[in-house]
Amino acid sequence: MHREKFKSFLQKRSFLITGGMAILAIFIAMVVGGILIFMIGINPFAAYQSFFRGIFGSVYGFGETMNKFTPLLCCALSFSLAQKSGFFNLGSEGQLYMGALCSVLMASHLSDMPAVPAIFFSVLAGIFGGAALSLVAGILKILFDANELLTTMMLNYIMTYIIALLVSGAMKDPQSAMEQTASVPANTRLPSVLTDSRLHAGLFIALAVLILVWFLHQRTVRGFEMRLSGINPKSAHYAGVNEKRALIIAIIVSGALSGLGGSLELLGNQYKLMDGFSNNFGFDGIGIAVMGQYNPIGILLSAFLFAALRIGTSSMQRSMKVPTPLLYILQGIIIIAVIVSNYYVRRIKDSLVEGRPVG
């Protein structure tokens, strides 16, 4: 009887299983990371202490974590929305760069405008930039049936070289020896929202966008059409859905989200564009979406985790000399562990439904 009760409890709250597995994945990654740190002759406990101190130890550190969280959340939503609609957008990285580029161009012309419209137009430019780049891959897919995994990936590389070209040439700040653009004017910068930290208002924009995207996807006709065509474009067509239009909307919104991420990072955090501006935000977005099971709460938590990993590993680098690429090792293990755990989650759920014993 007890067992039956437990089963029905789990059946109603399957997120507990998924969440438990995710925590297990994080734990595995941390243990492997700890072993690696130990192997290079550093005390893993001291290292992890500095890891957590970096994230939660100060208001400043927490603000930095949330500043990383903002673009990561945008990129994860971008990948997740496109994936649910049947488009594998690996081009978040390039679209984020495009968004930042358009924002910096727009912002540099708006120095005389009051802050609110200046920020509005700068962000809008970034959104359009990201959407335009993903639309390129979308048009290539719809007209030429070109594999979007590859076209978006190639556009990433092309975009990084375009940025490198611009920041060392046409857009280089003449006052600086570094290869970077001039900082955006003060009136276009997103205001800081927490004293003693650099936390900027972009966080609230990103959170609002999360709710908006969820609403669009789950509660509107267009969102329903997108999901339907994502599952099976043919049956969607048969049901009277214009599956090409649904796909195009998804592609545009997905690119816009990545562009927004770049724009917020630029206007809120870095203020200037340079080579290495993004540092893998786009690719992390994929990992976050996978880990969050493409669900808004899951993505929210995973984005926080990935942001924390970034701040934690760079804190370990500063105080304990642990090389920062440990970040990628942890991320890789987490992604692989989560995807494997999905298999077990499915089996456990199946066994709960069919009443077979768990195993």
Binding site: L140, D145, L150, F283
Partner: protein, 309 residues
Amino acid sequence: MKTSLIDTVLGMAVRMSTPYLYAALGGLISQRCGVYNFALEGMMLGGAYFGYLFALLSGNLFVGILGAILFGMLSGWLLAFIAIRFGVSQMVVGLGMNTLYLGITSFCSRLMSTSKTDSALPVLLKNVGPETLQKIPVLGSLIFGQNSMTYLIIILFIVYGWFIRKTEKGLSLRAVGENPAAAETAGINVFRYRYAAVILSAVLASMGGAFLTLTQVNRFSENMSNGRGWIAIAAICLGRMSALGTCLSCFLFGFASAISNQIQVLNMGIPYQFALMVPYILSIIALLSVRGKSAGRPAALGKPYLKNR
């Protein structure tokens, strides 16, 4: 002067297409068997690092290649285990592995540079052709001025083409990619074929990576594969999954890389970033030319096959 430029570019084109050829043959074998290997990029990176590390520690380049092969076997087994045993999304596993290998190689190479143990390899694999023949204009360095690894991959491509068309095992491999359930019914061990194909795929990709450190530059730098694994997948697409087509596509990308390299070397007033974009732009254009829904892809490509269903 003109001939020597053409000479250099052609010879260089074949040289620079070698890593693409290795990765593309690897990707081809695994796709034929129905499994996408999206970790080619990371496997190349791992092969480049471990090839370099083993060669540095042993002082022998062949041990370096063996090191890369060993890494390839391990990473291939891991990919096969996760993608085949658990039947999960092959794309996500591939991307996760790319991240993991980027982390492992960069982590180790930073450690080596802080402890000053990283150093240049004293020797690199040499060209094998006789000096006199290499001096023949145009074709000389193209045909004779190449590396043993380059000749090896050409031979492997021919062997693959023969294997897949003419042998019974090759037919079985294709059957596994087209319809695993039917293949299973016909008594073919689907899992064994898929494991073998994915492991072989990883070994080849790692060797392609090792080519970079053991023959081109003499040390490892972070993320040095720089999208070559993805270009290899584009080459397979462009070659419509045939051995000859893939091989020619790789030469095309190698040629693009050589042109890009020459633009930088000759200092023609074109910014080098433009030159670096060439292979990527070319691969997008290449993808546009692949019309038709199937483009030679096996029917069960990318679809997990679980026995108990």
